[in-house]
Symmetry: C2
């Protein structure tokens, strides 16, 4: 196999094992075995489990960047809703990462830097997106003491916590409703600031999907 | 020492050590050593680390129940704000528990039952409290698709996630502002539904505290 294919196989296998069993229970040897690779071969590509997790996070980050490229000029509520659902879906596909987020960042200074860089960038981008909704008369600017930043912060906290919340109640997020319920929860944080024009657009969306 | 005093010493010491180092790094032997007790004496009171953590959670739950007894008839926004701050303060004092919440519940079925029982009760109580605010003309009932349940769920998710969020940015929640900022974030989730009467009450609060 070419280097690129081998690395993809290792990462795909690691994601599957981590999602199923958590990162603590899975050694690099187990990943090599499941890939049908020698342990030496795996270590040639990735020196440690930390490096595998960092590379997986870079994949998450790249996926977010690629989608943002399509997003940043599409200021409709249908698209906002799609963005929230897409983010929840990403959290589900890489669920080990979001489940163990705090512990992973505490244990790996480099991962923490990668994550915070990415998060700062995303927070700015989503803020720009919301400002775009305001400029397109779909949302009004909240009045103090509510700020755009406080709405955005709440929406990130709810997004990060949604999967652990489902876990707690033994609800599987493979259930499609679970993802869309999370997205509705996020949309509802912004909803009090939607204009009549926006609400009419949303009603049309609901009618179309029924 | 009387049994009760010894148990209190063990729990207080365990909370301090868990908050500082996490539950994984602290053995029951370490707790015994820090208490100046023999290991056998500690095991006479608590058979395992799990039992210590369960007993600490029962203390958390009892504290929440006691405060609720004062709350349930005080329907003012000043009191609502105080309740949110008090909950954040409790999350800070028992921060190991909220930091490790998902992992702790995954590893201990009995703790999970204790926690979910307590959470269900609290969710109902806070919902009753919010209904009281509506009945006292301080808040309007949200209109579909926003529901009281969705507001309450968002507020719990933000509350649970606030400390891990501070951790991530290396902000200490011992900083008093950090707690009150968290409480403002929670209050802001409900704020779009506050009445003019409520907003006037809040303005008075702000003037009084400046």
């Amino acid at each position: 196999m070419a280097t690129r294919e081998t690395q993809k196989l290792i990462l795909d296998t690691a994601i599957e094992l981590f999602n199923e069993h958590g990162t603590k229970a899975i050694s690099t040897n187990r990943i090599a075995d499941d890939c049908g690779l020698s342990r030496g071969n795996l270590h040639y590509h990735f020196r440690s489990k930390e490096e595998i997790i960092q590379t997986i996070f870079q994949r998450i980050d790249m996926e977010m960047n690629e989608s943002w490229y399509e997003d940043h000029s599409t200021h409709t509520l249908a698209h906002a809703n799609y963005m929230f659902e897409r983010q929840m879906d990403l959290c589900w596909r890489f669920r080990f990462f979001y489940r163990e987020l705090i512990a992973l960042l505490q244990n790996d200074a480099r991962l923490k830097i990668l994550f915070l860089d990415s998060r700062h960038k995303r927070v700015r981008e989503v803020k720009d997106y919301i400002v775009g909704l305001i400029e397109n008369d779909l949302m009004v600017h909240p009045r103090l003491p509510i700020t755009l930043d406080s709405l955005l912060l709440s929406s990130w906290l709810v997004t990060d916590q949604w999967l652990p919340h489902l876990d707690m109640y033994d609800i599987s997020a493979s259930d499609e409703n679970a993802i869309s319920e999370g997205a509705v929860l996020i949309l509802n944080i912004f909803r009090p600031f939607f204009t009549e024009k926006a609400l009419a657009e949303l009603e049309e969306m609901d009618t179309a999907s029924n």
